[in-house]
Subunit: 646 residues, 2 copies
């Protein structure tokens, strides 16, 4: 334990190197050896946070703090004040307290009881990681936290939360509940976990770099002007930005404060006259000179800045992702609140020609790595039994051959046989499985390149597939092709297109339990809104320049998983003799789809033509960039199938 | 004018015969001659209400009343306190005041200005019917009534509305607006139009008839028990029902208080113990004996009954369709309010086996009439030039040959040539058009039978169609077939299926601007919820036993319209080797689709098979019920097309 403390202290002294991307070219300075050591230290942090071995003592410490503070119940959410997909180690309070490492969860601790809530994806993981002697386990959507509180909070009790970590809607729900029960809701000044976290890691301090105009397309000045015109329309005088992707997009900056996503964690206050206050740790700006209209201020100056807005101000904010604390600061100063959708999200999603060109280039670079990997995989003897980790590491090694790679864009999903059927699978030391002959292998991965972000899934087979595997792979492919090739009128939302990807599976009595497509950033988050393709209610029309994934799948529990994922851009598709303004998709991903997993009997002529045309484009674009024998393999992997004219 | 007054008085004295259905078998008693005279009288009412000739004098009278009442602005909505699709003449206040006969509209009258609002379907009709010297015209969705009020209401002014005619949400919007402007919102005790309507028609008094268990399937007792268990789940002690379709369904009663729909206009208060107070004019009950658990009370006893619920009561209600006045009465008595979806709507939509059997029988009866009409149409010489009215009347005459017909289920849409491209077209004396050789004819119609309700659209051609007409008809047919034949997992909503009906049109750069399917009642409203198929956000999963329309179309402005509509029932579709619980559609409508409008080149083998199978079923079911030469025509009209094995 003492040794661990020393390690933690050592890392705290070298915060510039924090981050999970050992190969990331952004890290300047440390030599290979230092780098390796830092990785070890980093891992110690991770192990400490995620070990779960200390849950009992930590909950005891929290309860002691609660008694001192005269607080009866404390809420511990998973996310931090940035409301992002990835949380830096310093803010992984829920993991530190409970050992839970999933991506959705919440805990409530009281003196005698405690509850841990997560969704259906994590039922098993919750049971494995969270101490059931301390926490009751609950399904967070079927039984929201309010339901548990309803039957545990009593009149006169105090429910405490950190107002940096929750939005207004959440706090209003709790306020209503407390009013009904005669309890009191209390906003903590200090986060309850931080109060007892003796060796909390430092906040990341990755260096900010400019995203050059070559790839950003629009200058920060142009973007600010565009956003300001939206503010004026909404009658707002100021905009508070708390989402890192919005801030990075607006200022054309990138960092590496969190894993897999080139974020600078910061806050931003934009006045409708175009002036910006950027609340960011100045130590990150050693290699970056801010734009003249940007005033850099320390993070802890934000609260005062909001209070000082005053009674004339009308503060626009995205209520879902804005800490209630910041809104209270603004209201204390007299400012009016203007809730609205984050005005950066839609213009960020509709990419500039330069961003699209960067995305295309990133996909060519990524295709080279993917083809090398696929070639390597196809050389494996049927009895070679590679593990999931070895396979993912081999693919990562091929990606790292490109100097353009900054990091992976997410932790690869590397699923052999039955593990491929677990939709949100992440290989761990315990789950790591050998791929057997005759098994399917599902690999979902991507890279962050300066030029853009990639995300691709391919399903492979070691040896010979069964007829059922081929039939179901082909049904998934039919959905992929129908969605990828459809033309649709301007104004259509992703929710309207989702069924096209499922129709072939449905006719066979099959389906898959995830969305079909998500938005993807340009060297930003691999998951971005506001558009998506799914059964849900996304009512955002698709627009030319948006980038989405097209990823239908099929999962046979205990046996195998299939998914075929390409990224596509939305393009105009004028139709001769048509009447409407039509759109369609163009593939960004240029990697062969396994033809020996196809049952050609199940494909129509138009589907075979689509596949042959796609493979011809892959071959023409990627083959010249490949060395032998990978090139020869690609030529054979993209050879036309079927016997129909092109 | 004096003569008209006498006519109106005469009809008022014979209210039992009111209703627009001269052939309806429900009307008992009056001989043919009396019947014809009553029709004349009825028409005089309609002419008076819809003439628009008296707008100036009526608005003047309303303004005089407003000065007396010290009211500055009065809202006049189109619907009445029953919030239904059809409004009885006695409640057609907006039409009486302004002459407007569309199905969506609202007026606000002030001393110096007045505004009339309707939606895009009625832009033209509004201009033709509403006096622009008196009313400014506005688009009700682009510029809601609040926008107009915002710039016309001044501080100190009084805005008056009838609290029987608006829901809570609407009144809250107005209250907010008045608060902001310093104006006062006033709920009128007497409806402002009624106050000046000297010869208002009497309320309809059609006789209530029981819907027999043979067609209803479930007894009123069973239905009440089912609804009561929902009330208990929602923690409600009472349910207020104001929607006529819910009340008629719950009590297994039918009437004919409004056109085209067998409604009894009434209100109902259900206690969670299963006792019912039914607020209905007792004169309607001459031929009907209520169930023992139903206490019949006069309409004007409802307010007191709500006030008397008292402080223990929690009153469930559907907020969208509940007059705010009734909620205020309940609140005055101390009752708590429980807003919820009308708990009759979903069980009403999921039909009982007996209701489905009735729907099937109704469709067989209706198919006989449709086939006679289609046969008659196909005998017309190419130069015969029938008018839209003649065609609709001929079809109605064929329907009336069945003694089972109660009424049409809506005013037929009978569109020749370019009129077929007007989606909400209703033929009038002015628009009535001759069908020319080479033109398409769109006929959308249906019948109300004791057994069930029908709704069918067929597109025909007089003489030879152009290749473009055939191509586009075939694209519509492809959408109709893809939707009609799809299999989908339980839990799927109509919104997810809509794109299947549009996909073929989209690929040709075409689309249509209406929904694809609506729910249909069983001898009730031809439009019912909660399910639908459309681009919208209907999140109600389809369930076996639901009935919907499948009606894609294509409209070429100024040229022609195409629509192919069948009613379908949702059925289970187990798939061998499938994993999910799958559903699909079975056709209720059994009428041939015009094969000589099909371009066979555009159909795939599976589509041709679908059509041939459908036509074989039509032939086998309907041909034995037809006389010659109609039967011979049907056999030829349903002959297989193409050259593929079945």
């Amino acid at each position: 334990m003492q040794e661990q403390q020393q390690l933690l202290a050592a890392v705290a002294a070298a915060p510039m190197a924090l981050g999970r991307f050992p190969g990331a070219s952004l890290i300047s300075g440390p030599e290979d050896e230092i780098h390796r050591q830092l990785q070890v230290l980093q891992q110690a942090y991770i192990d400490d946070i995620e070990s779960g071995r200390h849950t009992a003592e930590r909950v005891t410490a929290l309860r002691r703090w609660m008694r001192q503070q005269q607080v009866d119940a404390v809420v511990v959410p998973l996310h931090d004040a940035f409301f992002g997909e990835y949380v830096p180690l310093a803010n992984q309070r829920l993991a530190w307290l409970t050992g839970f490492t999933g991506s959705n969860g919440m805990a409530v601790v009281m003196q005698e009881q405690a509850v841990f809530l997560s969704d259906g994806r994590y039922t098993l993981q919750m049971r494995q990681q969270v101490d059931k002697a301390i926490f009751e386990l609950r399904h967070i959507t079927e039984e929201p936290v309010e339901t548990w509180l309803e039957s545990h909070l009593q009149a006169g009790m105090v429910l405490a939360y950190d107002p940096w970590l929750h939005n207004l809607q959440q706090v209003r729900r709790w306020q209503k509940l407390c009013d009904r029960l005669g309890a009191r809701l209390h906003a903590c000044e200090e986060n309850p976990v931080d109060a007892i976290w003796s060796s909390r890691p430092p906040m990341p301090l990755s260096p900010v770099q400019e995203q050059p105009l070559q790839w950003a397309g629009r200058t920060a000045v142009e973007k600010v002007a565009q956003v300001c015109s939206q503010l004026q329309q909404a009658g707002a005088s100021h905009l508070l930005l708390t989402q890192s992707d919005s801030i990075c997009w607006l200022l054309n900056v990138r960092g590496m404060d969190v894993p897999n996503t080139p974020f600078v964690l910061s806050f931003l206050l934009l006045a409708a006259d175009g002036t910006v206050q950027w609340f960011v740790d100045e130590r990150k700006l050693a290699h970056y000179r801010p734009e003249p209209f940007v005033r850099v201020r320390p993070m802890d100056a934000l609260e005062a800045a909001l209070r000082e807005l005053g009674g004339e101000a009308r503060l626009a904010h995205a209520p879902q992702t804005c800490p209630v604390h910041l809104l209270e600061m603004a209201e204390q100063g007299g400012a009016g609140l203007v809730p609205m959708d984050d005005p950066c999200q839609l213009p960020k999603a509709v990419k500039h020609a330069a961003e699209l060109e960067g995305m295309r280039q990133a996909h060519v670079i990524d295709a080279v790595a993917m083809c090398r990997f696929l070639h390597w995989f196809h050389q494996l003897p049927a009895d070679s039994r590679p593990t999931e980790m070895e396979l993912a590491e081999q693919l990562e090694a091929f990606r790292r051959q490109s100097p353009e790679l900054v990091s992976l864009s997410f932790d690869s999903i590397s699923g052999a046989g039955p593990n491929g059927a677990i939709v949100h699978y992440r290989v761990t030391g315990q789950s790591n499985r050998e791929l057997q002959a005759g098994e399917l292998y599902l690999i979902d991965s991507g890279g962050q390149y300066r030029q853009g972000t990639t995300d691709i899934t391919r399903t492979l087979v070691l040896g010979q597939p069964t007829p059922e595997m081929k039939a179901r792979f082909t049904l998934v492919l039919k959905g992929h092709i129908l969605l990828g090739s459809t033309v649709f009128p301007r104004g259509t939302c992703g929710a309207q297109l989702d069924t096209l990807a499922r129709h072939a599976l449905w006719q066979a009595g099959l389906d898959y339990d995830h969305g079909t497509g998500h938005g993807v950033g340009a060297f930003l988050s691999v998951h971005e809104g506001p558009q998506s393709i799914g059964k849900g209610r996304s009512t955002v029309p698709l627009e030319p320049g948006m980038v989405l994934s097209n990823e239908p799948g099929y999962y046979k529990t205990g046996a195998y998983g299939i998914r075929i994922e390409n990224l596509v851009e939305v393009v105009e598709r004028p139709i001769a003799d048509g009447e409407r303004d039509m759109l369609g998709f163009e593939n960004l991903t240029l990697v062969p789809i396994e033809t020996h997993l196809i049952d050609q009997q199940l494909l129509g002529i138009e589907e075979i033509r689509w596949l042959n045309r796609y493979h011809a484009r892959v071959r023409e674009t990627i083959a010249p960039l490949l060395e032998q024998p990978v090139r020869a393999w690609l030529e054979q992997a993209t050879a036309p199938i079927g016997e129909c004219p092109p």
